[in-house]
Symmetry: C2
Subunit: 140 residues, 2 copies
């Protein structure tokens, strides 16, 4: 029962193809939902931090900078629920909990790299486009 992605071709050529597969019900969770899940303010940072090996709750809290306890917990739970993070509890006193990225998350990391790469190569271009756009619209 460990099939899971037998019906999905190894490499899609267009997003329209993807949409077709989604419409056929091949894909239990549409990519949009995945995008939402990782597009929040914290998930990517957390995945990055957990990709280098096990990391503890408090370490994450210090590493992520600006994250609240609440959001850290919530985001960790969501990522764990999706099978992207593994949570290990050591029943010691004081308690110790470690998080690490699963293989699936590491693959996601690669995909994110593509997107980040695009962002960085074009961010100056986007910034310029914005300035120009704003000049056109406020000047009017």
């Amino acid at each position: 029962m460990s099939q899971g992605h037998t019906a999905v071709p190894a490499q899609l050529r267009t997003l329209a193809d993807a949409q077709a597969l989604i419409d056929q019900g091949v894909c239990p969770i549409p990519p949009r939902e995945i995008l939402d899940r990782i597009a929040g303010k914290w998930p990517v940072q957390i995945i990055v931090a957990c990709s280098q090996g096990p990391i503890r709750f408090t370490e994450l809290e210090r590493t992520i900078d600006g994250i609240s306890r609440r959001m850290l917990t919530l985001t960790l739970r969501n990522l764990e629920r999706d099978g992207l993070l593994e949570r290990t509890v050591y029943p010691t006193v004081p308690p110790k909990v470690e998080y690490r990225a699963t293989p699936m998350a590491l693959e996601l990391y690669e995909a994110l790299l593509t997107l980040t790469n695009w962002s960085m190569r074009h961010s100056a271009c986007i910034a310029r486009a914005r300035e120009e756009y704003d000049r056109r619209t406020t000047g009017n």
Copy 2:
């Protein structure tokens, strides 16, 4: 003055490298903001629809299914502002407006393909992880 991405290497190897570049101020707009911009409910669908050639406002409205006039307009404006869409107005009666993806958006499309591909290959796995997680937590 059409440099824009001279300081960014062609291909990043890790997201930590990317973060370092961001911290150096090389990247005027951090990738996170880009993620936010495209992660909304509609942007990706719109980019897909505009990637096959010019498409009119009303066509988009019919194609996207479920989108409100307001959100279509808003999302189009944001994408246009970021230089991802080109808007052409034909001063006819009745008015005619066409949108098409810019080359930059077509490259983004490729990056999204990577991410979508990941989503589809793992969605069954994620779905299973969720079920299992929910069983563990509600059973408790």
